[in-house]
Protein backbone atom coordinates (compact mmCIF):
# COMPACT_ATOMS: atom_id res chain seq x y z
CA UNK A 1 0.00 0.00 0.00
CA UNK A 2 1.22 3.50 -0.81
CA UNK A 3 0.87 5.97 2.05
CA UNK A 4 1.31 9.71 1.55
CA UNK A 5 2.59 11.42 4.65
CA UNK A 6 2.51 15.13 5.54
CA UNK A 7 5.92 16.47 6.56
CA UNK A 8 6.66 19.63 8.57
CA UNK A 9 9.38 22.04 9.63
CA UNK A 10 12.90 20.55 9.89
CA UNK A 11 11.78 17.24 8.37
CA UNK A 12 10.30 19.08 5.39
CA UNK A 13 13.64 20.84 4.95
CA UNK A 14 15.45 17.49 5.18
CA UNK A 15 13.22 15.88 2.57
CA UNK A 16 12.88 18.99 0.43
CA UNK A 17 9.10 18.55 0.37
CA UNK A 18 6.06 18.83 2.62
CA UNK A 19 4.69 15.46 1.55
CA UNK A 20 6.33 12.09 0.98
CA UNK A 21 4.96 8.77 -0.25
CA UNK A 22 6.17 5.46 1.12
CA UNK A 23 5.22 1.90 0.23
CA UNK A 24 4.47 -0.52 3.09
CA UNK A 25 3.09 -4.07 3.23
CA UNK A 26 -0.65 -4.59 3.69
CA UNK A 27 -2.19 -4.23 6.20
CA UNK A 28 -0.41 -0.92 6.73
CA UNK A 29 0.51 0.09 10.27
CA UNK A 30 2.10 3.12 11.89
CA UNK A 31 5.15 1.05 12.75
CA UNK A 32 5.81 0.16 9.10
CA UNK A 33 5.26 3.75 7.94
CA UNK A 34 7.60 5.03 10.63
CA UNK A 35 10.42 2.74 9.49
CA UNK A 36 9.85 3.61 5.84
CA UNK A 37 9.84 7.36 6.52
CA UNK A 38 13.06 7.16 8.53
CA UNK A 39 14.75 5.44 5.58
CA UNK A 40 14.06 8.42 3.31
CA UNK A 41 16.83 10.56 4.78
CA UNK A 42 19.72 10.15 7.20
CA UNK A 43 18.64 13.51 8.64
CA UNK A 44 15.48 11.93 10.05
CA UNK A 45 15.61 10.02 13.35
CA UNK A 46 15.20 6.22 13.25
CA UNK A 47 11.79 6.38 14.92
CA UNK A 48 10.04 9.64 14.06
CA UNK A 49 6.71 10.43 15.74
CA UNK A 50 3.65 9.68 13.61
CA UNK A 51 0.13 11.09 13.80
CA UNK A 52 -2.92 9.53 12.15
CA UNK A 53 -5.99 11.68 11.61
CA UNK A 54 -4.48 14.42 13.78
CA UNK A 55 -3.73 12.19 16.78
CA UNK A 56 -0.41 10.81 18.01
CA UNK A 57 -0.35 7.13 17.07
CA UNK A 58 1.54 4.09 18.32
CA UNK A 59 3.13 1.43 16.10
CA UNK A 60 0.15 -0.94 16.24
CA UNK A 61 -2.36 1.57 14.85
CA UNK A 62 -3.65 0.45 11.42
CA UNK A 63 -3.64 2.84 8.49
CA UNK A 64 -6.51 2.77 6.02
CA UNK A 65 -6.83 4.50 2.66
CA UNK A 66 -8.01 8.08 3.24
CA UNK A 67 -6.38 8.43 6.67
CA UNK A 68 -4.35 11.59 7.13
CA UNK A 69 -0.86 10.52 8.15
CA UNK A 70 1.81 12.98 9.31
CA UNK A 71 5.35 12.79 10.64
CA UNK A 72 5.84 15.15 13.57
CA UNK A 73 9.25 16.70 14.31
CA UNK A 74 10.07 17.53 17.94
CA UNK A 75 7.59 20.22 18.90
CA UNK A 76 8.82 23.66 19.91
CA UNK A 77 5.77 25.76 20.69
CA UNK A 78 5.55 28.30 23.48
Amino acid sequence: MNVTVRVFASYADALGADRATVTVPDPATVGAVRTAIAALSPKLPPRPIIAVNEEYATDDVPISPGDEVAVIPPVAGG
Binding site: P45, P74, G77
Partner: protein, 152 residues
Protein backbone atom coordinates in the same frame (compact mmCIF):
# COMPACT_ATOMS: atom_id res chain seq x y z
CA UNK B 1 -16.81 29.97 27.42
CA UNK B 2 -13.41 28.30 27.42
CA UNK B 3 -11.70 28.13 24.05
CA UNK B 4 -8.37 27.70 22.31
CA UNK B 5 -6.88 28.48 18.97
CA UNK B 6 -3.97 28.81 16.59
CA UNK B 7 -3.94 32.41 15.40
CA UNK B 8 -2.05 34.43 12.81
CA UNK B 9 -2.93 37.88 14.14
CA UNK B 10 -1.17 39.47 17.14
CA UNK B 11 -2.50 38.23 20.48
CA UNK B 12 -4.56 40.86 22.29
CA UNK B 13 -3.53 40.28 25.91
CA UNK B 14 -6.02 42.69 27.44
CA UNK B 15 -8.95 41.32 25.43
CA UNK B 16 -8.19 37.71 26.38
CA UNK B 17 -7.73 38.63 30.03
CA UNK B 18 -11.09 40.40 30.00
CA UNK B 19 -12.66 37.44 28.19
CA UNK B 20 -12.11 35.10 31.18
CA UNK B 21 -12.94 37.68 33.87
CA UNK B 22 -16.35 37.29 35.41
CA UNK B 23 -18.13 38.59 38.53
CA UNK B 24 -18.13 35.05 40.00
CA UNK B 25 -14.41 34.39 39.56
CA UNK B 26 -12.13 36.31 41.88
CA UNK B 27 -8.80 34.97 40.61
CA UNK B 28 -7.22 35.23 37.17
CA UNK B 29 -3.85 33.62 36.38
CA UNK B 30 -2.27 34.34 33.03
CA UNK B 31 0.85 33.25 31.22
CA UNK B 32 2.49 34.98 28.29
CA UNK B 33 5.33 33.57 26.25
CA UNK B 34 7.24 36.31 24.45
CA UNK B 35 10.00 36.23 21.86
CA UNK B 36 13.43 36.54 23.49
CA UNK B 37 16.30 38.40 21.87
CA UNK B 38 18.80 35.61 22.40
CA UNK B 39 19.05 31.82 22.31
CA UNK B 40 22.10 29.87 23.45
CA UNK B 41 23.98 33.20 23.43
CA UNK B 42 23.14 33.88 19.77
CA UNK B 43 21.32 37.13 18.95
CA UNK B 44 17.80 36.43 17.74
CA UNK B 45 16.20 38.94 15.39
CA UNK B 46 12.86 37.20 14.96
CA UNK B 47 11.00 33.90 15.01
CA UNK B 48 8.84 32.00 12.61
CA UNK B 49 6.26 29.61 14.04
CA UNK B 50 4.60 27.05 11.84
CA UNK B 51 1.99 24.51 12.86
CA UNK B 52 0.19 21.41 11.72
CA UNK B 53 -2.87 23.55 12.18
CA UNK B 54 -5.66 21.01 12.35
CA UNK B 55 -3.83 18.77 14.80
CA UNK B 56 -2.52 21.72 16.81
CA UNK B 57 -6.04 23.00 17.30
CA UNK B 58 -7.23 19.54 18.36
CA UNK B 59 -4.40 19.23 20.88
CA UNK B 60 -5.07 22.72 22.25
CA UNK B 61 -8.74 21.83 22.66
CA UNK B 62 -7.81 18.59 24.42
CA UNK B 63 -5.48 20.49 26.76
CA UNK B 64 -8.22 22.98 27.62
CA UNK B 65 -10.60 20.09 28.39
CA UNK B 66 -7.96 18.47 30.60
CA UNK B 67 -7.33 21.77 32.42
CA UNK B 68 -11.05 22.03 33.15
CA UNK B 69 -11.01 18.47 34.50
CA UNK B 70 -8.13 19.47 36.80
CA UNK B 71 -9.79 22.71 37.87
CA UNK B 72 -13.56 22.27 37.53
CA UNK B 73 -15.31 25.58 36.97
CA UNK B 74 -12.26 27.27 35.46
CA UNK B 75 -12.79 29.63 32.51
CA UNK B 76 -9.74 29.22 30.30
CA UNK B 77 -8.52 30.59 26.99
CA UNK B 78 -5.33 29.31 25.35
CA UNK B 79 -4.00 30.69 22.07
CA UNK B 80 -0.78 30.19 20.15
CA UNK B 81 0.36 32.43 17.37
CA UNK B 82 1.94 31.32 14.07
CA UNK B 83 3.81 33.22 11.37
CA UNK B 84 6.65 35.71 11.72
CA UNK B 85 7.10 37.32 15.13
CA UNK B 86 9.43 40.11 16.19
CA UNK B 87 11.42 40.13 19.44
CA UNK B 88 9.11 40.98 22.34
CA UNK B 89 5.90 39.82 20.69
CA UNK B 90 3.57 37.37 22.45
CA UNK B 91 3.71 33.88 20.94
CA UNK B 92 1.45 32.07 23.42
CA UNK B 93 -1.07 33.16 26.02
CA UNK B 94 -3.13 31.33 28.59
CA UNK B 95 -5.69 33.02 30.84
CA UNK B 96 -7.49 31.03 33.53
CA UNK B 97 -10.14 32.44 35.86
CA UNK B 98 -11.60 30.64 38.85
CA UNK B 99 -13.30 31.46 42.13
CA UNK B 100 -10.05 30.48 43.89
CA UNK B 101 -6.45 31.23 43.03
CA UNK B 102 -5.11 27.68 43.43
CA UNK B 103 -7.16 26.17 40.60
CA UNK B 104 -6.58 29.27 38.43
CA UNK B 105 -2.80 28.84 38.74
CA UNK B 106 -3.00 25.05 38.33
CA UNK B 107 -5.04 25.27 35.12
CA UNK B 108 -2.76 27.96 33.67
CA UNK B 109 0.41 26.07 34.49
CA UNK B 110 -0.94 22.76 33.22
CA UNK B 111 -1.93 24.30 29.91
CA UNK B 112 1.45 25.87 29.14
CA UNK B 113 3.37 22.73 30.15
CA UNK B 114 1.20 20.54 27.92
CA UNK B 115 1.27 23.01 25.03
CA UNK B 116 5.05 22.90 25.06
CA UNK B 117 5.05 19.09 25.19
CA UNK B 118 2.39 18.11 22.69
CA UNK B 119 1.09 20.76 20.35
CA UNK B 120 2.61 20.32 16.85
CA UNK B 121 4.12 23.77 16.45
CA UNK B 122 7.67 24.45 15.31
CA UNK B 123 9.87 27.45 15.74
CA UNK B 124 12.59 28.68 13.41
CA UNK B 125 14.92 31.24 14.92
CA UNK B 126 16.46 33.95 12.75
CA UNK B 127 19.86 35.20 13.90
CA UNK B 128 21.69 38.49 13.49
CA UNK B 129 24.22 36.83 11.13
CA UNK B 130 21.42 36.07 8.65
CA UNK B 131 21.24 32.35 9.39
CA UNK B 132 18.24 30.50 10.82
CA UNK B 133 17.55 27.20 12.55
CA UNK B 134 14.65 25.04 13.64
CA UNK B 135 14.68 24.91 17.42
CA UNK B 136 14.98 21.39 18.92
CA UNK B 137 15.57 19.88 15.51
CA UNK B 138 19.05 18.60 16.37
CA UNK B 139 17.76 16.39 19.16
CA UNK B 140 14.90 14.72 17.41
CA UNK B 141 13.83 12.29 20.09
CA UNK B 142 14.71 14.21 23.22
CA UNK B 143 11.71 16.51 23.28
CA UNK B 144 9.22 14.51 21.29
CA UNK B 145 5.95 13.65 22.99
CA UNK B 146 5.38 10.02 23.83
CA UNK B 147 2.23 9.05 21.97
CA UNK B 148 1.31 6.66 24.76
CA UNK B 149 1.31 9.57 27.22
CA UNK B 150 -0.27 12.15 24.98
CA UNK B 151 -3.67 11.89 26.57
CA UNK B 152 -2.64 10.78 30.04
Amino acid sequence: MSRSGIVAAPIDVAAITDEVRDPHTGAVATFLGTVRDSSDSRTVTGLEYSAYTGMAEREMQAIVREAIAIAPGVRIVAVHRVGNLAVGEVCVMIAAAHAHRGPAFDACRYAIEEIKKRVPIWKREHYSDGSSEWVNACAPDAHAPHPEDAHA
